[in-house]
Structure formats: C-alpha cells, structure tokens
C-alpha cells in the first residue's frame, strides 16, 4: 500500500504546525505505522519526541539536505502514514518539496486577522504545486479556537475567502496541547485530561482520511 503523506504547512510561524503534526501522527499511529518528518530547522518535533518518558507513538526523524518526492516515497515506503512538519516559510526547499510530495496539505490557521493576512499566499502556492502534484488536496483547519470569542466565530466566514476548503472540526485552545508537548507525549497519552483534545484530533483524521 502506498504511503499517504500529509504536509502540515503554513508560512506563518506559531500557527500550531508542530502541535497539529505531532498529535495527528500520534492518532494515525494508532491505526498504522506512522513517521513524522521534521523539516523545520528549529527541530521542534524532534525535541518534543525526545522529551517523553514514554516513547512517542510515531517515529520522529529530521531530514537535512536536499530531497524530493521520489526519494521520500522510496526511503519511507515502510510507513503507511508520513506527516511532514514544514518550516514556516514557503520559499524553503522543504516546503516546496513537501507540497509536491504530499497527498494532503493541512494548513492550521489561528483565529486572528493577522494570521489570515499572513497566510494569503498559500492558495497560490498550492495551485502552483498542483501543476506537478495532481493528487494534492488542501484543507484549512482553524486552530486555537475560543468558543466564546466573537472573532473565532467569525473566522469560518472570513476564511472562506481563501478558496480552500475548511475542515468542519476546529481545534480549540486548550492547555493540554502545551502540557503534552512539555511531557513529550501526545494528547492521546494524557488520559482523561486529554480526552477532548484527542477527540478533536480523531475528528480531523477522520475528515482528512474520508475526504
């Protein structure tokens, strides 16, 4: 079975790419062998996985140097799922190759106008990547939603301006995501405290896989 590649990408830093990538990978690892490829020179994913007292459910590796979609499929065909944690730059080799290699581009966006404005280049880049990667599908996922905030509620309409489908499931702002990172585990491993967060991630996985 071919490896299914999900790139978690956004040119804006602090959008929650690593948090989404790591928890998504943990959820996928409950189903099949999953690898997180940390493409960000900051190596936050690798750092995250190295902190845990318990082993992280997915394997986490960092790629350095030049690579392309072909080498990605060849080198990691043992894994069913590959989650690419991209750097916060669309100009980087890693981001461009990730868009060319992936089946799904998952774009976390914070419910803030500044984050919306900063992410506006993405639709164009995805269109560009589709010229070489026909199977590429992209989804926006709202991250750090605050249910009582009017701005968070208004985001669903505003984000439609991007012309990229938005996942129905949004990720709420929860301290448990940060706590899990600190403990080097996923929200799935946080017991009852992580149950709501894990349910969100499960819903996202189901949406992405079912789509």
């Amino acid at each position: 079975m071919a490896t299914h590649i999900i790139a978690v990408i956004n040119q804006k830093g602090g959008a929650g790419k690593t948090t989404v990538a790591m928890n998504l990978a943990a959820g996928l690892a409950r189903r099949d062998d999953t690898l997180v490829l940390d493409l960000d020179p900051q190596a936050s994913s690798r750092q995250w996985a190295s902190l845990g007292s318990a082993p992280f459910p997915a394997t986490v590796k960092q790629i350095n140097g030049k690579w392309d979609a072909k080498t990605l499929h060849q080198n990691y065909k043992a894994y069913r799922h590959l989650v690419l944690d991209c750097p916060p730059s669309l100009e980087s080799h890693a981001s461009l190759q990730a868009l060319r290699a992936c089946d799904v581009a998952l774009i976390p966006v914070l419910p803030s106008p500044i984050d919306l404005w900063a992410s506006l280049r993405l639709p164009g880049e995805i269109e560009e990547a589709r010229k070489t990667n026909k199977r590429l599908r992209a989804f926006l996922v709202l991250n750090q939603l605050e249910p009582k905030s009017a701005l968070s509620a208004a985001m669903h309409d505003a984000i439609a301006e991007f012309g990229i489908p938005v996942l129905e499931t949004g990720i709420r702002r929860r301290a448990i995501y940060r706590s899990a990172a600190l403990e080097g585990v996923s929200v799935y491993q946080m017991g009852g405290r992580g149950a709501l967060a894990a349910a969100e991630i499960e819903a996202i996985i189901n949406e992405v896989i079912a789509s």
Binding site: P113, L116, L120, R121, A154, D157, A158, E161, F162
Partner: protein, 119 residues
C-alpha cells in the same frame, strides 16, 4: 457579530487584492527568472569578486590581531600614562598649595599651621 464577520472578510479581501497587485510581479519575475537569472549570473560572478575584497577586509582583521597586539601594547601605554596621571594630580596639588597661601608656595601657614602670626 455580522459586523465583525464583514470586517474580517473585507480585511481578507483587501489584503488579497493588495497581494494580487504585487503578486503578478513576482510571478512574472518567476517566469522570467530563468533567462534573467542566467543574465544576472555574470554579475553574480562579479559580485563574489566584490565580495572577495570584503573577505579581504576580514583578512585585514589580521591587522585586528595587530590591534590585539596594540591592545597588548596598551597596557604598556598606561604604564607610561601612569606617571603622566601621577604627574597630573601633582599639578593640581601645586595649585592647591598655591591657593591657600595666596600664590606663595611653602609659606609659613603651610609649614607652621599652629603658629599665630602677627599682623
């Protein structure tokens, strides 16, 4: 609420429009980059040449080692300066000795402070 939605959507549309105004230029540059980059290649070669002197400048940093040498020399200079600084306070002292005696150095007031001098 609807006001907020409209504002947010309008801000995104405006940012998008602004980006579209500027984006075609980079896109055009991108499409034109292969020849342009090829044309620019020689100046790039020239640029490193220009950079080479810049690298030479850091080599001039070797003189910075000399600067460090001069820094080493500096301690020697303070040694020379120490007597100068010692001499400098000496001059104010002279001025100080001059002023109480109203211009007469080593006057009787200085030599015999307890003595009462007749008018």
């Amino acid at each position: 609420m609807t006001n907020l939605k409209d504002k947010l959507s309008a801000s995104v549309r405006q940012a998008k429009a602004e980006q579209d105004q500027t984006a075609p230029k980079p896109a055009a540059i991108k499409s034109a980059t292969p020849p342009a980059a090829a044309k620019k290649a020689p100046p790039k070669k020239a640029a490193p040449k220009k950079a080479a002197p810049k690298k030479a400048a850091p080599k001039k940093a070797a003189p910075k080692k000399a600067v460090t040498k001069t820094v080493k020399r500096k301690p020697a200079a303070p040694k020379a300066a120490k007597p100068a600084t010692a001499a400098k306070p000496a001059t104010p002292k002279k001025a100080a000795t001059q002023s109480p005696a109203s211009g007469v150095a080593d006057s009787g007031n200085a030599l015999f402070p307890d003595r009462v001098w007749p008018d």
